[in-house]
């Protein structure tokens, strides 16, 4: 089968040759361990993403026109497996997963040219501005306003839970262009320059003690009308499209990532002589089952797409499985380590620089961010199982 090649490749390549080529590339260009200082780390990560892009190894699913690899599905899977195995940093910000599919689907040619390749290369970091203090899962109630003034919108309001907000160059945001009463019918999708006057981004300390999120204050920020994606007041459909775009091959990436993490946890249990404990073995075997099912799910989603053009029901539940898995896994690791599991990385007695404890805290967000588990369960119930809407919820 002739396949799409990375830059500089012309011959027909087998899956194994493709895998070998990726491995060689990751080995040759591996950036090593990340710097600890956040600012240095940002520069370091951007350099790596540029390397990926410049060698034709960025954006496995992306159209080649936008600098991606446009790989057939099976190759995307191999890409994600090798990417996870190589332990190299992935995309910065939430642009690639959420904004990019929206721009590819709804953006004008000019918008695509201007935004996509720099996002993929890591030159420009995109962060999401959907959530507000009063509107998390209930996005139709958001209050940040954009008033039309000639060729510009004037934006006022506040966003919160903005992942990577402090590194952001661009915010893709939902804003209210209609009345408050118009709910989701008065929402537009704006791309806002994070360095524009009136934008104030403040890191938000989260429960890990770090700054995974920021809050964003928008005070008379002027945004060109040309930077609106889609129709005025037509942003709700776009937001829903992008949230639904959790790409299937990405679930393979998660499966590969957690395969590795679980193997490391098993190693840790072995080193500490805990495998003699039947309860420890039972729990580890349970994680083994779940991580394998994660992979089987991903394979099935991909096979469904290849055979039938769309992912089946497995795709709607795989994220729920992963969220629960990563929470349980890290908590078990902390339990297994006992009091030592409670030590922060400042302690010389901390095990593996406290990664399991950090994971325990960090993964609390897995069932909150991008829609709480409860909201996701509602969505699955209504959209996949066809259960009736809750009359107290907004119509869709």
């Amino acid at each position: 089968m002739p396949v799409q090649q990375g830059l500089g490749e012309t011959a027909v390549e087998t899956d194994e040759e493709f895998r070998a080529r990726l491995r060689a590339f990751f080995a040759d260009h591996h950036p090593g361990r990340p710097p600890r200082d956040p600012a240095e780390r940002l520069v370091w990560t951007k350099a790596w993403l540029a390397t990926l892009f410049d060698h034709g190894y960025a954006g496995p699913a992306w159209p080649r026109a936008h600098g991606g690899m446009e790989l057939p599905f099976a190759r995307q899977v191999i890409y994600h497996e090798e990417f996870a195995a190589a332990r190299v940093p992935g995309p910065l910000g939430t642009g690639l997963n959420i904004a990019a599919p929206t721009i590819i689907t709804y953006g004008s040619d000019e918008q695509q040219r201007r935004w996509l390749a720099p996002m993929l290369r890591g030159d420009v970091v995109w962060a999401q501005g959907y959530s507000e203090p009063g509107a998390g899962s209930d996005l139709p109630s958001l209050r940040t306003t954009a008033k039309r003034s000639g060729d510009e919108y004037v934006v006022n309001g506040q966003k919160v839970w903005t992942s990577h907000g402090q590194s952001a160059d661009i915010l893709f945001a939902l804003v209210r262009t209609g009345t408050q009463e118009s709910r989701q019918k008065g929402i537009s999708y704006l791309v806002i320059d994070a360095h524009a006057p009136g934008v104030d981004i403040r890191p938000l300390q989260d429960l890990t003690g770090g700054h995974l999120f920021a809050e964003v204050f928008l005070d008379d920020v002027r945004v060109p009308v040309a930077d609106r994606i889609g129709e005025e007041n037509g942003g709700w459909k776009l937001a829903r499209t992008s949230l639904g775009h959790e790409r299937a091959a990405g679930s393979m990436n998660q499966a590969a990532l957690y395969r590795r993490v679980l193997t490391e946890l098993e190693e840790l249990a072995r080193e500490r002589g805990l495998l003699a404990d039947a309860l420890v073995r039972d729990r580890l075997a349970d994680f083994e089952i779940r991580v394998r099912i994660m992979r089987y799910n991903a394979q099935r989603i991909i096979a469904d797409i290849l055979l039938r053009g769309e992912p089946g029901a497995a795709s709607s539940v795989s994220r729920l499985l992963i969220a629960e898995f990563e929470q349980d896994l890290h908590e078990f690791a902390v339990d297994m380590l006992g009091p030592q599991g409670l030590l922060g990385k400042g302690s010389p007695l901390a095990v593996q620089r406290s990664r399991w404890l950090q994971g325990f805290l960090r993964t609390r967000a897995s069932t909150i961010g991008t829609g709480t588990r409860e909201i996701q369960l509602n969505t699955v119930a209504e959209q996949v199982l066809g259960l009736p809407y809750d009359p107290s919820m907004p119509p869709r």
Partner: protein
């Protein structure tokens, strides 16, 4: 097979689905279970003659159609969905796959054509009084006497064992564990149904007292019996997925129409969350069962791993979903007349047959070197 059914496999699924909905819906499972019958003869014959389901995994040279465990899984998923009361699982998933795995040409020539055309029902008797599915614990003795073998001992939890025309018995020999074919009319063979939770899947005791038997395969059988176990586990997991999916569908249908406080109960988050969690388990189970169906086609460590994953997960999933289905039906679900308890019975029964989830996790841990 790929991780998702091909078009041909989809056709098989639809064919079996439509046939069972028409000829053997759950109401029939209830009727047969209450009467103590071990299946409907007419359905059995149609399955063999019109659908050739008994021939599915039998090699073509022995009168079958030569499909593999993936296709068998697709059929069993549908059978699990209607709680089919039938010696099909015992005959095809257990006995036929044992004969094929033995590689014993004589035995295959002798018994597989009868299985393929529906004339013969069969089963595999491995567990003894403890119920453990472990050839290492077998105490039934096989003694060679001239050309024949004589078996003495007792088997329990034998699926459809009281009616099977052919019982494949695992017994201990001087040269290791062996598999022996015992015909229904063999002298010294006594069989009786056990009093068990799940009336849709009768289990029997089989007593052997100097019972003449034919050896299947040569030498110690533990190696290839392990691969038979993987095949049976994958088959059971597929059947469990079908049962769980049926429970989910039943619960969702009910939640859409049953009203409380002036609205369908399915509009309440508490019910929605239950149903979505059930879907999660059904779909993850389905992925695991498909993966196992593909993996066990080739014996080896990957087959054992995938089979253990599927059986451990699908067992718990089916039982959980069956319990939630009953709960969503409320008081109605607690009545004898409702089907929910039939599924719960099958779920709990199949959870513990062929090894508990905990035992499969322990085996998995060993297999992957934890």
């Amino acid at each position: 097979m790929s991780a998702s059914p091909s078009e041909e496999q989809e056709q098989l699924r639809r064919l079996v689905h439509d046939f069972l909905q028409d000829r053997s819906p759950v109401a029939d499972a209830r009727r047969l279970a209450e009467s103590g019958a071990d299946g409907d003869r007419a359905v059995w014959t149609q399955m063999a003659e019109q659908l050739r389901l008994q021939a599915l995994v039998v090699p073509e040279e022995h009168g079958g159609d030569g499909y593999g465990p993936a296709e068998l899984g697709i059929v069993l998923e549908q059978m699990g969905g209607v709680l089919l009361v039938s010696p099909y699982f015992a005959t095809v998933a257990m006995a036929a796959q044992t004969l094929i795995a033995s590689g014993d040409e004589t035995a295959m020539r002798r018994w597989l054509p009868g299985i393929a055309d529906g004339a013969t029902t069969a089963t595999l008797a491995l567990a003894e009084d403890s119920g453990a599915w472990d050839a290492g614990l077998v105490r039934t003795q096989a003694r060679s006497s001239g050309d024949a073998w004589l078996l003495t001992g007792s088997k329990s939890f034998v699926v459809h064992g009281h009616t099977a025309d052919l019982v494949l018995v695992v017994a201990r020999t001087p040269d290791g564990v062996g598999v022996f074919a015992v015909e229904a009319d063999a002298p010294g063979l006594t069989r009786a149904p056990m009093d068990v939770l799940d009336p849709t899947r009768p289990l029997a005791t089989v007593q052997l007292d100097e019972t003449p038997a034919t050896r299947v395969g040569t030498g110690d059988a533990s190696g290839w019996l392990a691969s038979v176990t993987d095949l049976v586990l994958a088959a059971s997991a597929a059947e469990q997925v079908g049962g769980a999916a049926a429970c989910l569908a039943m619960a969702v249908d009910y939640a859409k129409v049953r009203e409380q406080f002036g609205r369908p109960i399915g509009s309440f988050q508490a019910i929605k969350h239950k149903c979505s969690t059930m879907l999660l388990q059904v779909e993850c189970g389905r992925s695991a069962a498909y993966a196992a169906g593909a993996a066990v086609a080739t014996p080896g460590p990957e087959a054992s791993t995938a089979a253990a994953v599927a059986k451990a997960y699908c067992s718990q999933a089916f039982t959980h979903v069956a319990k939630e289905c009953l709960q969503i039906h409320g008081g109605v679900g607690f009545t004898w007349e409702h089907d929910a308890h039939l599924y719960l019975r099958r779920a709990k029964s199949s959870e513990l047959l062929f090894g508990s989830p905990a035992s499969h996790r322990a085996r998995l841990a060993e297999l992957v070197g934890i």
